[in-house]
Each structure stands twice: as structure tokens, then as C-alpha cells.
Amino acid sequence: MGVIGRPHGVRGLLHVHSYATDPTDLARYELSDERGRRFALRWRSEGVAELAEIVAGKPVKIADRTAAEALVNVRLSVPRTALPATEDDEFYLADLVGMQACAPDGAVIGEVQAVHDYGAGASLEIGRVLLPFTRACVPEIDLAAGRMTVVAPAEVDAR
């Protein structure tokens, strides 16, 4: 969800790069890093945040620059269960990437490697194929099983 950047000032503030759709959303979650440490974040200005490490259930503020320097490049993540529920026909990219794509007859086509959206609707990259993320092409998605049914559209060349 984000990564900690360089320290800001001498009071333990840090630049934090948020990958959330709304960058300020990062403050709503309890964040954790790869080592299992948990953090609470509070934005102080645009891109600059105050971090507190949660130790035994209590927040311990990062209060000086030396402690802040030790956190540079730490990647912050949020458990998938902490994210709010989506609307109908809306899916988190984190859920879609890695899903198994199957043909209607059950044959495995491949794995979703990436989801692209360049302003003209989302598309799924499955192997070397790009498919539009529409009901016609992806009629069924089983999030629990990590599988989706894919109907490859006909392709017509226009030259």
C-alpha cells in the first residue's frame, strides 16, 4: 500500500509514498511491514506523515530523525481483510492478479498476470493474451476458488 521514504526534519517525520487510490486512506488502516512490525500513520502535510510503531497494543511514536532513518524504504502493507467491500462487478486488482483463467469447458488457459486500465475499460493480461474485462469475456468470477471463466472473443482485423 505504500513505502516509507526519506526523513523529514528532526522530529521523526517521514515522507510516505502511498499507493492507495486516495493517498490519505493510508491513515485509516493499521499498517504492517515485511518483518511483522505494525504501524499507525497520521498525515502531517502532503506526503509527510508521523508514524508510530504499535508495540504490545500501544503506539510508540517515531520521535527523532535517527529512528526515522531506520525506517527508510520499509514497504507498508495492509491485510486484504481490512479493505472495504467492493460494489457489484468491482474487484480489487490484488484479487484478480494470480487468478486462474479457465475456458467454459474447464480447461485451464493460464493465470492473470496483470490488470491494465488506460482509460478505456480494464483489460486482463492472461499469458500473452489481453482480454477486455467485460461480462461477455469474463462471465464468471469465483473469488473464493481463485478462478474465473474466460470466453475469448472473436478477433477481426481491420486494415
Binding site: 480489487y92 478505456a120 477486455p132
Partner: protein, 92 residues
């Protein structure tokens, strides 16, 4: 210099024919095009094009808001790999 209004929007002629055929067939199909320079016309709304970016055909689902833009605007030629974070994709 901007294009003269009296000329109308530029679109490669064969695209119109293909789009009309696709609308008539109403199949689940992608029209693969190389013409990134063509303007998106109201006739294309609802169709899905695969616009070549020099490497692969990126699916472009045309909607009303895209009319007047060029196809190439929706098929970037350079790779951008962002972070998924809490981003969502809506099924069209």
C-alpha cells in the same frame, strides 16, 4: 496547427465498414486496428477495438466520453507498471 473544421474528423474509411459490420453481427468480438490516428466517432460507441501499440493489441471499449479522441490515446506505447494498492477494476 489544428485541423480545419470543414474537413470533419479524420477516420480511416475501412474502420467505418468494419464497425458497421460488427454492430450488425452483435457478436462478442474485437476489431483489431493499427490506425491509432483515427478519431473515435459516435458510431463506434459500444464496440471493442484492439488498438496496436507496436507490441500488442490493447482492448479499448469505446464509450460516449471517448468520442472525438484518437484511438492511440487509449493504447500507450510505453510500459507503465504501477502498484495495485487498493485499486479496483470494474467489469464492463
Amino acid at each position: 496547427m489544428t485541423r480545419s473544421v470543414w474537413k470533419g474528423p479524420f477516420v480511416d474509411g475501412y474502420l467505418l465498414n468494419k464497425a458497421e459490420a460488427a454492430k450488425a453481427s452483435s457478436r462478442n468480438e474485437i476489431i483489431r486496428i493499427w490506425s491509432r490516428r483515427s478519431t473515435i466517432l459516435p458510431q463506434f460507441v459500444g464496440l471493442t477495438f484492439g488498438v496496436y501499440n507496436g507490441h500488442k493489441f490493447l482492448p479499448v471499449q469505446v464509450n460516449e466520453n471517448m468520442v472525438g479522441h484518437k484511438f492511440g490515446e487509449f493504447s500507450p506505447t510505453r510500459t507503465f507498471t504501477g502498484h495495485s494498492g487498493d485499486k479496483k477494476a470494474k467489469r464492463g
